[in-house]
């Protein structure tokens, strides 16, 4: 885990962020979350069970789900077609429900096109299939630069896209989310679907790095 540093591009905030122990007084915002939630529950506007269930939903969503979808698309051409036609329906076919009203558009990387996703306004992200976004996805440098100098930004991830390949950047919105379908790496012809899924990382599905045959998911 990286040191806790939310917004280094926006100046410091200096309050401590230790894990709250049983005897430690929670921070102001920790208490504020509790206060707002309890007031909403008292007014019967939200149900505590629903809130607890959503915590479990958030815990259950990880990039392993997206990796499963990608691997299936690599081995099953008919599924790939359905995934590209309607991301949400194809994910539901794999047992991955959308817990919100967002549309999912899956963007396929090819020898001619490399896709990158961003949310310039804030932090929209394909959460049902990837979980919550990393901090860098929400920070100014990524959001500002992805749409104006994607090749330079990608190079900072170690991803150099040849000039012969078009780079397409898709800007997410509250209602439309994107997922990158990375290229299947060479040398994986004999891999099982599960072995393929283990190669697919979160960052590859954001489009900042490729999938490689010798890399485990992190």
């Amino acid at each position: 885990m990286e040191p806790h540093d939310h917004e280094s591009t926006h100046g410091a905030h200096d309050h401590p962020h230790a894990e709250p122990g049983a005897s430690e007084r929670p921070g102001y915002y920790d208490m504020m979350e509790t206060a707002l939630r309890e007031l909403l529950i008292e007014r019967k506007l939200v149900d505590p069970a629903e809130f607890r269930r959503q915590i479990e939903v958030l815990d259950s969503r990880t990039p392993a789900l997206g990796a499963k979808v990608v691997a299936r698309a690599w081995v099953d051409p008919a599924f790939r077609e359905r995934l590209l036609a309607n991301g949400r329906a194809a994910c539901e076919e794999c047992g991955i429900s959308s817990y919100d009203e967002t549309e999912l558009i899956v963007l396929e990387n090819t020898d001619k096109v490399h896709n990158l996703i961003v949310c310039t306004l804030c932090s929209c992200y394909p959460r049902p299939v990837l979980g919550l976004p990393p901090d860098w996805y929400k920070l100014k440098a990524y959001r500002s630069r992805a749409v104006i100098e994607p090749r330079t930004l990608l190079a900072e991830f170690g991803t150099v896209i040849p000039d012969s390949v078009e780079v397409r950047v898709s800007d997410s919105t509250a209602l439309v989310r994107y997922l990158v379908l990375p290229k299947r790496p060479e040398g994986t012809e004999h891999f099982t679907e599960e072995e393929l899924a283990s190669l697919v990382t979160r960052d590859a599905m954001i489009g900042v790095i490729p999938v490689t045959a010798n890399q485990g998911s992190t």
Binding site: M1, E2, H4, D5, H6, E7, S8, T9, H10, G11, H13, H17, P20, S23, R25, P26, G27, Y29, D30, M31, M32, E33, T34, A35, L36, R37, E38, L39, L40, R43, L45, V46, E50, F51, I55, V57, L58, D100, T120, L121, C122, S123, C124, L132, P134, D135, W136, K138, L139, K140, A141, Y142, R143, S144, V147, I148, L153, E156, D171, A174
Partner: protein, 119 residues
């Protein structure tokens, strides 16, 4: 285009394409209260009490200085409070009373605010 025209064209969150510093690959595991804040946001959205666009506008309405100083989920909570006040769903005085009550649970030495143990 002069500077005031430029300002009119962009709200604080609309930073796509603006010059920015070097990219840093920052990540952290969500703290328990941050995860609770996210779950609260989702539930508020499900019930259309505060939807995703309202939340974003609520963060923008905090203004550049607050947006710059606060962390991601701190901004969300400030925005939620303001939106709930503005919609008349929660009165500021009720919120102040509840904050005192939550703080008092700790000052009284109770082992953990009930909701804080959710994770």
């Amino acid at each position: 285009m002069n500077q005031s025209e430029e300002l009119l064209k962009r709200l604080p969150n609309d930073i796509g394409g603006l010059p920015a510093g070097p990219f840093q690959r920052i990540e952290h595991e969500l703290l328990p209260w941050e995860k609770r804040c996210h779950a609260l946001a989702d539930v508020l959205d499900f019930h259309k009490i505060i939807n995703t666009e309202e939340k974003r506008r609520g963060v923008e309405a905090l203004g550049g200085e607050i947006v710059g100083q606060l962390s991601y989920y701190e901004r969300w909570l400030d925005a939620f409070a303001n939106i709930l006040f503005a919609k008349g769903i929660i009165a500021p005085s009720d919120f102040a009373r509840k904050m005192d009550e939550v703080a008092a649970r700790w000052e009284d030495g109770l082992p953990g605010a009930p909701a804080s143990s959710t994770t």
